[in-house]
Amino acid sequence: MLHARPNERPNSFRTGPDENGRFGLFGGRFVAETLMPLILDLQKAYEAAKGDPAFQAEMASMLTHYVGRPSPLYFAERMTEHLREVAAASGLSGGAKIYFKRDELNHTGAHKVNNVLGQILLARRMGKKRIIAETGAGQHGVATATLCARYGLQCVVYMGAVDVERQKPNVFRMKMLGAEVVPVTSGSKTLKDAMNEALRDWVTNVAETFYCIGTVAGPHPYPAMVRDFQCVIGNETRAQMMEAEGRLPDSLVAAIGGGSNAIGLFHPFLDDPSVEIFGVEAAGHGLSSGLHAASLTGGRPGVLHGNRTYLLMDEDGQIQDAHSISAGLDYPGIGPEHAFLHDAGRVTYLSATDDEALAAFQLCAKLEGIIPALEPAHALAKVMELAPKKPRDHLMVMNLCGRGDKDIFTVAEHLGGM
């Protein structure tokens, strides 16, 4: 927390949420009465764990030896050179120095495991034997199935029937890890419906079930708790950049579906005014097409899945389906803290289309030998726009939050079976 002096940045951006789980207007606890006592229990258990050195030590040890942290902060030299050439071609002399935070190197291939590890250790402390989760692309489901296998816990993953079909390899991985994958056939049969179904399970099996939410959404304390578990990304970045360059980065860029990888990178830098911060939503076929997943750019405030945030909905308040080539960004809402940071003006939210993400995906593979997931490919698409306009001594960090193995078939299909 920033201790402000009079007349100088009176507020910290890092103090939320308040005791009611609010980040300004956003957040809260909009859940059925059956779940309310469970959420209050969870909050108590999490507060206790947070202050318990034994819990923190167990987290740290598992992050090192099981997840493989810290993930490297990698100077993307050829991407940097390429974008400097792009700058030169338009008569500019600049081009930022680009770093990738390599969270795709984590066990299970994405940042999701940082959060799941925290929640599973908490579930163990609370004596819960049965873990449920929702998943879109399957990355959170795989991470949850992985940790459940590691600790011998029962695991049930809800996944939209449409996503089960388009993410078959991850469904197989989850089953190999011993999880039960339940295809959800209600509503639009995608991530939001999987979350509805997980909530229905939780309300039914209250006594021994722990709901492991995959992003910084849901009722308080989830948005804050998941953020805390993901902040390892930003904390490492801070230390690694000090070591590499002797100073803080000048800008941060991350993709946003629910927004957990982004808030994990951003949060430790929110009170450093010199650091520009960019979140990138999925613009699908383009914002004007109506087929997108950009809740902040194309939505408005509403209440869903336990919190108030920006949502895609019609004028009657009915939730609309999101559209993105990336199943991980295919959600009609966004974490409430992002809604707050958007309205406060601290973070700039941009959007990238399917086509822009596909172009960035291919460029990253060719120039850096890294096949990114389609989610960070959205962030990279905006790095490609932002970096050429920045001076050469500008240090830009992009969160490469997942690897693209899961996406190669989707990409091949879009590129005409290459």
């Binding site: 009465e33 059956t34 309310m36 006592p37 039914t204 209440v303 869903l304 949502l311 009657d316 939730i319």
Partner: protein, 274 residues
């Protein structure tokens, strides 16, 4: 002035429980839905609980989810729901109407405008599933100030320590959810319902109605033994569903199928003398 206290008191004085019937506004289409709602009191419903359709009904089982989808597909909106109530009120000034649903459509409509329009239409009370006491400032307190009842759900997870908070701003009646779970799923253990109602009654003078999992006249009679009200919902919307034709349209038998079930439930509830 809400019609709920009068209705519950009159039935209690007559030595019987009240029958609360749930249907979704606009299911299977606005016109048939109005005909169903109009026919409910004559079939024996004491209170009409009208679902405000929502795309993501997280606390509801498949039956009510489908009914919500049918209504939305047929063009139902929150505005349309209020209009349905207003039309009903032209021919029925007595039967209490409670709107039940989720917060987002109301929030988007605008809380102040919604409360004014609901009162104007003749709504007596609100049940909003995703607004626990922790969020009372949002809608509960403004609704009470506007003269509407705000009916809260108490559940098996609401322990004695929490009950006073749940009951604090509740009015009209208390809706006891007989199971941990979603609507229309499990059948409750009816032998435990009376004890659960008695526990709540130790904390409040309000009538206690019991719902979730009450499907047949036999269930209704069992619940009526210990409760002031019996809520039936999923069974009614399932009756609507099975009455539809192959294209999902209402048939001549749709309204009659619903009233016939309601008549059976009402007879069962009235037969339990208290």
């Amino acid at each position: 002035m809400s019609r709920l206290p009068t209705t519950f008191a009159a039935n209690a004085a007559a030595g019987r429980a009240s029958l609360v019937t749930f249907v979704t506004a606009g299911d299977p289409d606005p016109e048939t839905s109005l005909a169903i709602v109009k026919a409910l009191p004559g079939a024996g419903a004491d209170v009409i609980e009208l679902g405000m359709p929502f795309s993501d009904p997280m606390a509801d089982g498949p039956a009510i989810q489908w009914s919500s989808m049918r209504a939305l597909k047929a063009g139902m909106t929150l505005k349309g729901t209020l209009a349905l109530v207003a039309t009903f009120r032209k021919t029925d000034a007595q039967t209490p109407i409670v709107l039940m649903g989720y917060y987002n459509p109301i929030y988007v409509y605008g809380v102040a405008r919604f409360l004014a329009d609901a009162r104007e239409a003749g709504v007596d009370g609100l049940i909003v599933v995703d607004l626990p006491p922790e969020e009372d400032d949002e809608l509960c307190l403004p609704a009470l100030a506007a003269g509407l009842n705000f009916i809260r759900l108490a559940t098996p997870t609401t322990d004695d320590a929490r009950l006073p908070a749940v009951l604090a701003n509740t009015s009209g009646f208390v809706y006891y959810v007989s199971i941990t779970g979603i609507t229309g799923a499990a059948t409750p253990d009816f032998s435990k319902v009376s004890a659960a109602v008695a526990r709540i009654k130790r904390h409040t003078a309000l009538p206690v109605a019991v719902g979730f999992g009450v499907k047949t006249p036999e269930h209704a009679a069992a619940v009526a033994q210990g409760a002031d009200g019996v809520v039936v919902g999923s069974a009614l919307v399932e009756t609507i569903r099975t009455s539809l034709d192959g294209a999902g349209k209402a048939t001549e038998g749709t309204v009659a199928a619903v009233t016939s079930l309601v008549r059976g439930l009402a007879d069962a509830v009235k037969a339990v003398r208290k």
